[in-house]
């Protein structure tokens, strides 16, 4: 299975993951500071900053776009419960 990597800047840990993994599946296991509310892409609690590799994430859904807009999210923000790593390297930090 193709691999990708996610680096959580706030705790200095890089995790290699199978392509298609959602950030939520990794960040909690590794103890990063990204926190979750509804876990369904509605509340915006898990907004995180993509420091690098945004192009290696699946495009945000219509719902995620809307929630980011409602929360006045900066351009580099994504929801960790929705964002899916497709390939390459992604670097994130809590929003």
């Amino acid at each position: 299975m193709p691999k990708a990597s996610v680096t959580f800047e706030d705790i200095g840990v890089t995790v290699t993951v199978p392509a298609g993994t959602r950030l939520i599946e990794v960040s909690e296991k590794v103890g990063a500071g990204i926190t979750y509310g509804c876990r369904e892409g509605e509340c915006g609690t898990c907004m995180m900053k993509i420091v690098a590799g945004a192009e290696n994430l699946a495009q945000p859904s219509v719902l995620e776009h809307q929630v980011l807009a409602d929360n006045l999210a900066p351009r580099a923000a994504r929801l960790a419960c929705q964002a899916q790593v497709l390939s390459g390297e992604v670097v994130v930090r809590p929003g």
Binding site: I11, G12, T14
Partner: protein
């Protein structure tokens, strides 16, 4: 000098030319929002501001007090004169009468902060239509004819939507919950009511304290306005020495240990039945003390009040909790402290858990889950030891202390792991 009541049934209270209090008194309220005791009730302060071209209503009241609010409002203006309804904060104690006000004043424009529309939508579902509203931020104004309302974005005081409204010609700041308190006195003005200092501090400690970084940001904006009068959404109206209340907020919100330069702090808390978890906690502290720039403190949780530890945690950079496992759970003193941390900002602080156990050792995992729930960072897997820790176990505890200390001081080495290695 005694001061008479200024509040009469159905009558607004004039605060300045064209500015009225149209709120409600709730003297029998004893517990507010589940978490707050109120020794003598509260008030829901709403206001009306008249300009040459119409009236602005600023906030409403809790739904049970809507009749009082509408009676006072009707004594100030006709509904078709209301041009704007300003919502400084959408919590139901301030927006309870909003749906009915929108029905009675259908031409009024709703003005609220940029974070508020999503909350508004959920609050006025009974209207059956999505309300039209005008989100505003710093620098936005509403002209009422001869006088102007300006808006100050003050988010998270204490909801995402909170803002303040500034009436410049009168030097009046409509502050929402900021500078408010639960204190009911029908003399209304701060120089006429009873002594409400404890209520003011108590309200800050329970409502604003978790957001103190936002409090300090807001004060930077609000102090510059130098208001002549502060008109909060609860409690006395602050016309005498309004700056003193701002200064009090600044004192309460400023970190006390902030002058320590780059030194970081780690608190190690433990509870121990037979001394095993205590030995582990001491070993963690020993390891952490080896980290340069880290000040480590060790506490037996059973030997002090939770409130004192909450104060320490507010200033700390990291915490370790040590708990034995009793009947598949962490012990009560640990939960008492962990359940008290919603009063302070702990988001982003570092945490770890350790503990000795007899059968199964669930306490460590449960504490880790709670710390994550509090939005803390938990970068290291906790350590649990069956009954008596060996010297190897204690060395692992020292290692955990060293590693956690390195995270806290920003000197942790970067790690690369495969997801399969994570539990």
């Amino acid at each position: 000098m005694s001061h008479p009541s200024v509040v009469s049934p159905g009558k607004p209270v004039a605060l300045a030319s064209g500015v009225h209090w149209i709120g409600a008194l709730d003297p029998s309220m004893r517990r507010f929002d589940i978490i707050l005791n109120t020794a003598n009730g509260t008030t829901y302060n709403a206001y009306a501001v008249r300009g040459a071209h119409g009236v602005a209503v600023i906030d409403t009241v809790k739904i049970e007090f809507a009749d009082e609010f509408f009676a006072r409002l009707e004594a100030v203006c006709r509904y078709d004169e209301i041009r704007v309804i300003v919502l400084n904060h959408l919590e139901p104690d301030h927006s309870g009468a909003l749906p009915e006000l929108m029905r009675r004043a259908p031409n009024a424009k709703l003005v609220l902060s940029q974070r508020a529309p999503a909350i508004l939508k959920a609050l006025v579902r009974e209207l059956g239509t999505e309300p039209e509203c005008t989100p505003v931020g710093d620098g936005d104004v509403v002209e009422l004819g001869g006088r102007t309302l300006a808006f100050v974005h003050t988010p998270y005081l204490h909801w995402p939507d909170t803002q303040c409204t500034w009436l410049e010609d009168e030097g009046m700041l409509f502050s929402g919950d900021v500078f408010g308190c639960h204190f009911c006195d029908d003399r209304l003005w701060n120089d006429a009511v009873g002594d409400f200092r404890f209520s003011f501090d108590y309200y800050y400690q329970h409502i604003m304290r978790p957001f103190r970084a936002f409090v300090l940001e807001a004060l930077d904006k609000l102090e510059g306005l130098a208001p002549r009068v502060i008109l909060p959404a609860h409690g006395p109206l602050l016309r005498t020495s309004p700056r003193e209340y701002m200064a009090r907020y600044r004192r309460l919100a400023t970190p006390e240990l902030g002058s320590g330069g780059d030194e970081k702090t780690l608190l190690v808390f433990y509870v121990s039945a037979y001394g095993n978890t205590a030995r582990m906690a001491r070993a963690v502290a020993e390891g952490a003390e080896q980290v340069r720039g880290l000040r480590v403190s060790l506490f037996d949780l059973q030997m002090s009040d939770v409130a004192q530890f909450v104060d320490l945690i507010e200033e700390a950079d990291g915490m370790v909790f040590g708990s034995p496992t009793l009947n598949a759970d962490a012990v009560k003193p640990v939960w008492d402290l962990l359940s008290s941390l919603t009063l302070v900002a702990v988001k982003g602080k570092f945490g770890a858990a350790i503990g000795s156990y007899g059968w199964s050792g669930e306490a460590v995992g449960l504490i880790e889950d709670r710390m994550r729930g509090l939005k803390m960072r938990v970068p290291l897997k906790g350590l649990k030891v069956k009954l008596n820790p060996t010297e190897d176990d204690l060395e692992r505890c020292r290692g955990l202390g060293r590693e956690l200390g390195a995270h806290i001081t920003g000197t942790a080495r970067r790690r690369v792991v495969d997801i399969a290695e994570l539990a």
